[in-house]
């Protein structure tokens, strides 16, 4: 009896181990499940895009695509992990462009650059806005700045550090209005501070839609290169004469050195996933706009973002040194 049991135990252990061993290499990619690292917390815009995409790619590629959360540092934790993964197409990462284009400039201790990755495709973009609360007297950005100038006081601006900080710098450079940047953790906290009347202005990627719909907040401008599709009356900073644009696009990437056919297959799978129905779903649920771009275009876009921001980052660093 005892012996039988030990045999069963050993057999179970052996079976368990065997199930783990990777299959022997076969011809066609993919022949085992693909891991998709997701750079942001569950429930957020990037996470939702990634998980919906994974479900859809699964059907096209015929292998499970498993989402694994690797949140933190605005997507840089995921990027740092992804860069060390094997470039075999079985580990891919869903992240946002600021982590690749901006973070390595701001923080030189990060061990990756834009070109340490094969960027597979751009998937979606958020519709952002600079917002104030409805009780405030300001109806437009110009009014806000003129008012601050007339009263000769700095505006308080709740910001999630990097990108919004650069934006306020661009605005003060032109208007001469100073911003006191209040660091907050996440857009929701910024909205809360503005709603409570503790801070004048904030920038938000997605949380502002419902506040505007409810009439508690007013949108003044957006940072994108063109107007948000859902808000045709909202001007962009560019139109208002400020030389600043940035869109934190959500993209799928892989470590550098992916075999060509694997990269092609993955970006095709993304393209095929973004059906009109998928876009509609994403727009209605998360207010995200799908925006497919292939590998070359995505990488070029990241470089453009990097170069656009370089002078502002240099200025910010100089300020911090002082």
């Amino acid at each position: 009896m005892r012996r039988n049991l030990s045999i069963i135990a050993v057999a179970t252990l052996a079976a368990g181990t065997a199930a783990l061993l990777p299959g022997i290499a076969a011809a066609e990619y993919p022949e085992k499940p693909i891991t998709m690292l997701i750079g942001f917390r569950p429930g957020g815009a990037v996470d939702t895009t990634g998980r919906l995409l994974a479900a859809s790619m699964e059907k096209i590629l015929g292998q499970p695509v498993v989402g694994v959360t690797k949140a933190g540092g605005g997507g840089t934790v995921m990027a740092s992990t992804l860069v060390t993964a094997a470039p075999d197409g079985y580990t891919i990462g869903m992240g946002a462009s600021a982590a690749y284009a901006l973070a390595p400039q701001m923080n030189t201790k990060l061990k990756f650059k834009i070109d340490d990755f094969d960027h597979i495709a751009t998937v979606s973009i958020p519709q952002d806005a600079i917002v104030v609360r409805t009780e405030s007297p300001w109806k437009t950005l110009d009014q806000l700045l003129a008012d601050a100038k007339a009263k000769n006081r700095p505006l308080s601006f709740a910001s999630q550090v990097s990108i919004a900080t650069l934006m306020t710098m661009a605005i003060s450079n032109k208007s001469g209005v100073q911003f006191n940047v209040i660091p907050v953790k996440g857009g929701a906290v910024g909205i809360q501070e503005v709603l409570g009347g503790h801070v004048d202005v904030t920038w938000s990627g997605s949380g502002w839609h419902k506040q505007v719909a409810a009439g508690t907040m007013r949108a003044l401008a957006s940072m994108g290169p063109k107007r948000n599709a859902g808000y045709p009356d909202l001007p962009t900073l560019k139109e208002l004469g400020y030389n600043f644009e940035f869109v934190d696009t959500f993209m799928l990437s892989a470590p550098k050195g992916l075999p060509k056919e694997v990269l092609a297959k993955l970006s095709e799978a993304v393209k095929a996933s973004l059906t009109p129905e998928f876009s509609k779903n994403l727009l209605s649920k998360m207010r995200l706009v799908t925006d497919y771009r292939g590998p070359a275009e995505t990488t070029a876009y990241l470089h453009k973002q990097h170069d656009d921001m370089a002078p502002l980052v240099a200025e910010l660093k100089k300020k911090q040194k002082k």
Binding site: R41, P42, G43, G44, D47, T48, R51, G67, V68, T69, K70, A71, G72, G73, T76, V77, S80, T81, M106, N107, K109, L110, K111, R153, P154, S156, V161, S162, T165, N180, V181, I182, P183, V184, K185, A188, V189, I191, Q192, E193, L195, G196, G197, H198, V199, G207, H209, K210, Q211, A213, A214, T216, S284, K285, M286, Q320
Partner: protein, 499 residues
């Protein structure tokens, strides 16, 4: 009115009842097992809910949250290893009770207090969510700095036998919370080049190591010194144990009722404010009960009131956490942040309009929450019997498995061995803290509050640096500062004759 009735009707359909029960069950399970926790289970369950109706999906997740707050107390009481960090203060008196053979009594008290606190906070949510959320909005960075200052002074009084050691532990915890990207300049602090540390030391592996694994190490050591068979855990169902040690008597209920009420109020208040959390609520509730008690010296040696105070307070956070979420669309906790995602997936945007746009859904959720509390009582009642069997197994079998669960749970929080490493480091640190009587409880509180205190304080400085006098015109700040000074003065006076 129609919407209310329709909502209640929706919640009571068999399929929704099933999902509420499943959620509560899952919550108790993950709450009880060291290494697993409710936010993790909710994050994982969010994709599962894609395929459910909005109400079923959301109540399933809320069920997990509710079950999780009670579940943590089970292992805290039976094994002194809180299954979730919130239950840290439950173990103070729960474990001593279990060692005296009154484990079943403590478990039941914890369950009743937990369900009571949760229900109380739900009622507040149902009735005054909107006005309360407006009050919470008035709490700007300056007010929050004052709130945290006040909380810390109260908790400092709890630091065990030596105030100096307690304060060292708290400062150490707060110091470790400064690791990570600086919130203002975005430069890394004390990360030693590890990208994994950019968001700071993750609290879940830290808590697993400090609270669960270090205790297991101590118990293994005790086992070894006692020589093999040594001390055997007490069978809390045993016939030798008199009935009054297995149930909560009416008289005990009555003595604890004031404590439970007080803790429920504290927990609800903490829950309505984003950025403080259930761990702190548990401590504040426990501290307030000790302060109000006629025999504070009995706390920590197996006082039933202590269990009730801690559990009612940490559970009352759950319902109130949803106040800022439903009324303003702002998450009050990690679980609530993940819940937002679940709402959005179902096309519902939680925020100021939710009561107008989806009244039926909101009342459905409220009804489901009430049902979930009931299920928590029932499933928890059965569950504690099941878990209590745990202590019948020999330690040489349970302890290795708990070690493995600690490792697996730490790994799961970051999907990396790095988190496991952190967990192990804090397990060894926890061993020394326990042996040398440096309160690991104030350490955790220092860690949990330190980060937010720094953030709020720095925000306040930037906001008010050009007009500092304005701080003294803010009534909430002034009131909290006055309270803080009053507590300090009283603590000083109480301690003076003793020292």
């Amino acid at each position: 009115m129609e919407a209310i009735l329709a909502g209640i009707g929706d919640a009571l359909t068999p399929i929704n009842l099933f999902f509420i029960a499943a959620g509560v069950f899952t919550g108790i399970l993950v709450g009880a097992i060291p290494g697993l926790n409710a936010p993790m289970a909710i994050a994982i369950a969010v994709p599962l809910t894609y395929y459910m109706s909005p109400l079923a999906g959301i109540t399933f997740l809320i069920g997990i949250n509710k079950g999780g707050t009670y579940g943590g107390s089970i292992t805290a009481i039976l094994l002194n290893t809180p299954g979730s960090p919130e239950a840290t203060s439950t173990a103070f008196d729960g474990y001593p009770l279990a060692r005296k053979g009154k484990g079943l009594k403590a478990l039941k008290m914890a369950l009743y207090a937990s369900v009571f606190g949760d229900t109380f906070s739900d009622i507040v949510l149902f009735t005054v969510a909107a006005p309360l959320a407006i009050v919470a909005l008035k709490m700007g960075p300056a007010e929050m700095t004052a709130v945290l200052l006040f909380s810390m002074t109260i908790i400092a009084g709890l630091s065990g036998r030596s105030l100096v050691r307690g304060l060292i532990a708290a400062a150490l915890g707060a110091f470790l919370s400064t690791v990570g990207l600086d919130i203002q300049t975005a430069e890394p602090r004390l990360t030693f080049g590890f990208a994994e540390l950019q968001d700071g030391i993750p609290i879940i592996p830290l808590a697993i190591g400090l609270l669960a694994l270090s205790e297991i190490l101590i118990q293994i050591e005790r086992h070894l010194i006692a020589g093999g068979g040594g001390h055997r855990s007490i069978d809390i169902f045993g016939r030798s144990i008199p009935r009054e040690d297995k149930v909560v008597s009416w008289a005990e209920w009555k003595t604890c009722f004031r404590t439970i009420m007080r803790s429920s109020l504290i927990g609800t208040g903490i829950g309505a404010l984003p950025g403080i959390g259930a761990i702190v609520a548990g401590f504040l509730g426990y501290g307030a009960a000790k302060r109000a008690s006629k025999h504070p010296e009995r706390f920590g040696t197996g006082e039933l009131e202590g269990v009730a105070a801690a559990e009612a307070a940490n559970s009352a956070v759950t319902g109130a956490n949803l106040i800022p979420l439903l009324a303003l669309g702002i998450p009050g906790s990690l679980s609530a942040a993940i819940l937002i995602g679940a709402f959005l997936i179902h096309g519902v945007d939680p925020g100021p309009l939710i009561f107008k746009e989806y009244p039926r859904l909101v009342y459905g959720i409220f009804a489901a929450m009430a049902v979930a509390n009931l299920f928590n009582l029932v499933i928890g009642g059965f569950g504690l019997r099941f878990f209590a069997l745990l202590v019948r197994f020999p330690e040489s079998a349970t302890h290795p498995i708990i070690i493995l669960l600690c490792i697996a749970g730490a790994f799961a929080t970051g999907s990396s061995m790095f988190s496991v490493g952190i967990m192990l480091v804090f397990a060894v640190l926890g061993y020394f803290m326990r042996k040398l009587d440096f309160s690991f409880a104030t350490f955790i509180i220092g860690f949990a509050l330190g980060e937010n205190f720094e953030v709020f304080f720095r925000q306040t400085v930037i906001l008010f640096m050009d007009r500092p006098m304005e701080l003294f015109t803010r009534p909430i700040v002034l009131a909290l500062l006055a309270l803080t000074i009053w507590v300090l003065w009283r603590t000083g006076h109480r301690r003076a004759p003793a020292a």
